[in-house]
């Protein structure tokens, strides 16, 4: 069923009734929070909008907010697609999200502490031991280590979706090195430049306070005995796809951006090599994976790590943010136990919904999954970035059979969930020069420190740019939108 509005920029907007549209309600009327914006954008023709879109793209390109694509002949720089039509979240709705993501981050932190100490949650039979012991992200070397301030997941990125029932569901928790926060700031900047007028009509939360809060969080977990700590961001280097974000964070926080080769360890203290000799480093915000951190402790062939870093960490002479070994808790298998984990540690009911999950490791669930593959999304438990996901109703018969065989071989490796219908948002599509419905999700950013926490009032709304596609990750052709949180 479709309905065309009279608005020129929305003149060819096809609204599919079964999907939850963020802008239009079931009667195809504009939702309250979007009314003013809709009115303002109505003054533009689709060509005006196309021009603004080109300007915004040029601005991203000139600022070097890009990633590299390698073809046969040479490396090409591309920008992440950005849509100038923002997503708006009302304050009441946001309140729930904010409380919910903070609750999850705190519960995950307590879970991590438990998993690397007494393992009470396992002894009490809440989470099966296999979930931990078979996880490739569980780091035995983290056992009995007390990270400064008692914090493991200082930075969490929680991915949420709105289902066709209009409720938010958490899709996954990212507590290794969640990325994307720089785009929150850049998207806001780009939108301000292109459509500055619209900001006068909405009272929205600023996103620029992220960096200063992150610095406070980092300094709140300084090693014992350090007065004024030196913090650094460590990056794999300029060829990493997230290098822009690493340099952006270092610049806005005002700390050094280092590579592994800039650091060395002596007598279990970490130093960086400066033009005036060596300088002690106390806090490392790492943007490299656990196993690359220290070739003496983990992957021996890691050229981007710092030999001896883990020994210094064990001695409590340096803080690593996020702590090594957090991956065990953002595993998709652990995700399914989140409601129980929250109840167990916090004695509270979960504020945000979890998507019901079938564990292929459980016999009954495996049976159900194999019988109903066509109605489920099957995901490997330990992959990030949208890789390896199979959506049942998009597969051919042969593909379903192959998938079943794959699951049977390693049931522990897979979980399945009902196909969630991500909400859709009007998005400008260059190819057709018109607005179309596209599926979106929302990544929020939560910071946990010693006696301090912070949730960024904003987020990264990721858009699946291919028609009908549900996978929003940038590595799979996703774009993004500025996200406005309205003030009370």
């Amino acid at each position: 069923m479709t309905k065309n509005t009279l608005n020129p920029i929305f003149s060819s907007y096809d609204k599919i009734q079964s999907l939850y549209d963020e802008i239009f309600d079931e009667n195809s009327d504009v939702r309250e929070v979007y009314k003013k914006l809709f009115e303002l954008y109505s003054g533009l023709s689709i060509d005006d909008y196309g021009n603004l879109n080109e300007m915004a793209k040029a601005s991203f390109f000139n600022q070097g907010i890009t990633f590299q694509v390698y073809s046969d002949t040479k490396a090409q720089e591309k920008i992440f697609p950005f849509d100038l039509f923002p997503r708006i979240i009302d304050h009441d709705e946001w309140d729930t999200i904010e409380k919910g993501v903070l609750q999850r981050s705190k519960a995950l932190n307590l879970f991590l502490h438990d998993v690397y100490h007494d393992k009470k949650i396992i002894k009490d039979g809440i989470v099966p031991i296999e979930m931990i012991s078979s996880s490739s992200n569980y780091l035995q070397s983290m056992m009995d280590i007390d990270p400064p301030g008692g914090i493991y997941n200082h930075i969490s990125g929680t991915d949420l979706i709105k289902h066709s029932d209009g409720k938010y569901y958490v899709l996954e928790d990212n507590i290794r090195c969640p990325s994307g926060v720089s785009y929150v700031m850049c998207n806001r900047g780009a939108l301000k430049k292109a459509l500055f007028g619209v900001f006068n009509h909405y009272d929205i939360h600023s996103v620029t306070d992220y960096a200063e809060n992150l610095l406070e969080i980092l300094e709140s977990v300084k090693p014992h005995g350090v007065d004024v700590p030196t913090a650094v961001v460590i990056t794999p280097g300029i060829y990493n796809s997230a290098y822009y974000e690493h340099s952006y964070l270092a610049k806005t926080i005002g700390i050094e951006l280092v590579e592994g080769r800039d650091l060395f360890v002596e007598n279990d203290f970490v130093y960086m090599k400066t033009i005036l000799g060596s300088k002690r480093v106390d806090i490392i915000y790492r943007r490299i994976d656990d196993t690359f951190l220290d070739p003496l402790e983990f992957k021996q062939d890691s050229a981007i790590g710092v030999p001896g870093l883990f020994a210094a960490y064990k001695k409590g002479n340096v803080t690593i943010v996020n702590a090594p070994g957090t991956g065990v808790a953002d595993d998709k298998a652990i995700y399914t136990y989140m409601p129980e984990i929250i109840r167990y540690y916090l004695g509270e009911e979960p504020i945000l919904n979890n998507v019901h999950t079938y564990h292929c490791s459980k016999e009954d669930d495996l049976k159900y999954v194999l019988e109903n593959v066509n109605e489920l999304v099957v995901k490997p438990v330990d992959e990030a970035g949208g890789y390896g996901i199979s959506i049942g109703n998009r597969l051919t018969k042969e593909e379903i059979e192959t998938l079943k065989e794959t699951i049977k071989k390693e049931p522990r490796k897979y979980i399945a969930q009902p196909i969630m219908s991500l909400s859709v948002h009007a998005t400008y599509i260059e190819d057709t020069n018109s607005f179309e419905q596209r599926h979106v999700d929302l990544r929020t950013f939560t910071l946990l420190g010693n006696q301090k926490d912070f949730v960024l009032r904003g987020g990264l709304t990721r858009v699946a740019l291919k028609k009908g596609n549900l996978i929003v990750n940038s590595s799979q052709g996703g774009g993004s939108k500025d996200t406005w949180i309205l003030k009370k």
């Binding site: 600022q63 961001v233 290098y243 690493h246 610049k251 800039d262 090599k273 033009i275 000799g277």
Partner: protein, 314 residues
């Protein structure tokens, strides 16, 4: 500041400056030859060889150079280390590694510059874009220096970039003087003293964007003596070796703030060279211009070498 990043900043400064000098030399030589007063300096081969000599291309054997090939190599050929495009590429690569330390405004300018140059059509460049491209390069580099001065903290980061810029400037000016000195010896001028009053001195001043100011200062047509005095010893001329040395000295003082420099440091070496040049006269230089220029190049090289060892490879 990290030693690795210091190295990046220093070289970023050098490559920005190198791109500009190479582009300007190419432009001025090419266009001034079109109405030069004698046959040899009008000859296209003479100009192309001069350009190759300036950038240090020695591998050509053919006596007749192909114009389009030389222009492409010096302008846009990324496989030639001396090309303008390669300098721009390396400047931006070094900026990438120190992106967190420089301002967004500066980075945006260098990034735009890079994309402008990378997307410049080879065909257009060698056929009719030489003037357009090289002029744009000099304008972009001016913008970059403006952003460096106007948007960065004037601390050791600034000092390192400026150190790179000024060492490169002194080096390039010396190279240009050397090349034009050789040219002047080859192209006999049409006036009384063929070398001392050669047309090449005018070209030399234009290659360094110093012609107008030189005329204002001496109020006479350039001669070998006045040109060299102006470009080597005049501390007020922003393109002179002396001016660069003064700036290099100020820059190193920001980085090495010990009161008395130890004798094996870069600061000591720089101070020594600066003092020596401050009290040099053009008459002394005249005795053996060729040797003097060679010695200047070597001293600048050894300063660069010392800086790298002292600050960048710890």
């Amino acid at each position: 500041m990290l030693a690795r990043v210091a190295n990046n900043l220093f070289w970023m400064g050098r490559y920005i400056e190198r791109a500009e000098h190479t582009a300007r030399y190419l432009k001025v030589n090419y266009f001034s030859s079109l109405d030069a007063p004698n046959k040899l300096s009008q000859s296209r081969q003479f100009v192309l060889q001069s350009v190759y000599q300036m950038v240090g291309e020695t591998s050509f054997t053919s006596l007749t150079l192909k114009e389009e090939e030389v222009l492409y190599n010096v302008g846009l050929n990324l496989n030639k280390t001396y090309s303008v495009l390669n300098s721009i590429k390396l400047a931006r690569e070094n900026a990438n590694s120190s992106r967190d330390l420089v301002s967004t405004e500066f980075y945006e300018s260098i990034n735009k510059f890079y994309h402008f140059a990378m997307n410049y059509s080879n065909d257009k460049f060698v056929k009719n874009g030489l003037y357009d491209f090289t002029t744009s390069v000099t304008e972009h580099t001016s913008i970059l220096r403006g952003k460096i001065r106007g948007t960065l903290l004037h601390d050791e980061i600034y000092a390192l970039i400026m150190l790179g810029i000024n060492i490169e400037r002194a080096t390039q000016i010396t190279r240009i003087i050397k090349t034009k000195f050789d040219d002047a010896n080859k192209a006999i001028g049409g006036y009384a003293n063929p070398i001392k009053n050669s047309y090449e001195w005018t070209t030399l001043l234009k290659c360094t964007e110093s012609y107008d100011m030189m005329r204002r200062y001496y109020k006479k047509s350039p001669t070998q003596l006045t040109t060299l005095e102006f470009l080597i010893l005049n501390a007020k001329c922003p393109r002179s070796v002396m001016n660069s040395l003064n700036q290099i000295y100020n820059n190193i003082c920001t980085i090495d703030n010990t009161k008395v420099f130890k004798k094996d440091t870069s600061a000591f070496l720089i101070g020594k060279m600066r003092a020596e040049y401050e009290f040099k006269t053009i008459e002394e230089i005249q005795l053996n211009v060729h040797d003097f220029i060679e010695k200047t190049s070597q001293l600048l090289f050894s300063i660069g070498f010392k800086l790298e060892n002292e600050y960048f490879y710890v």
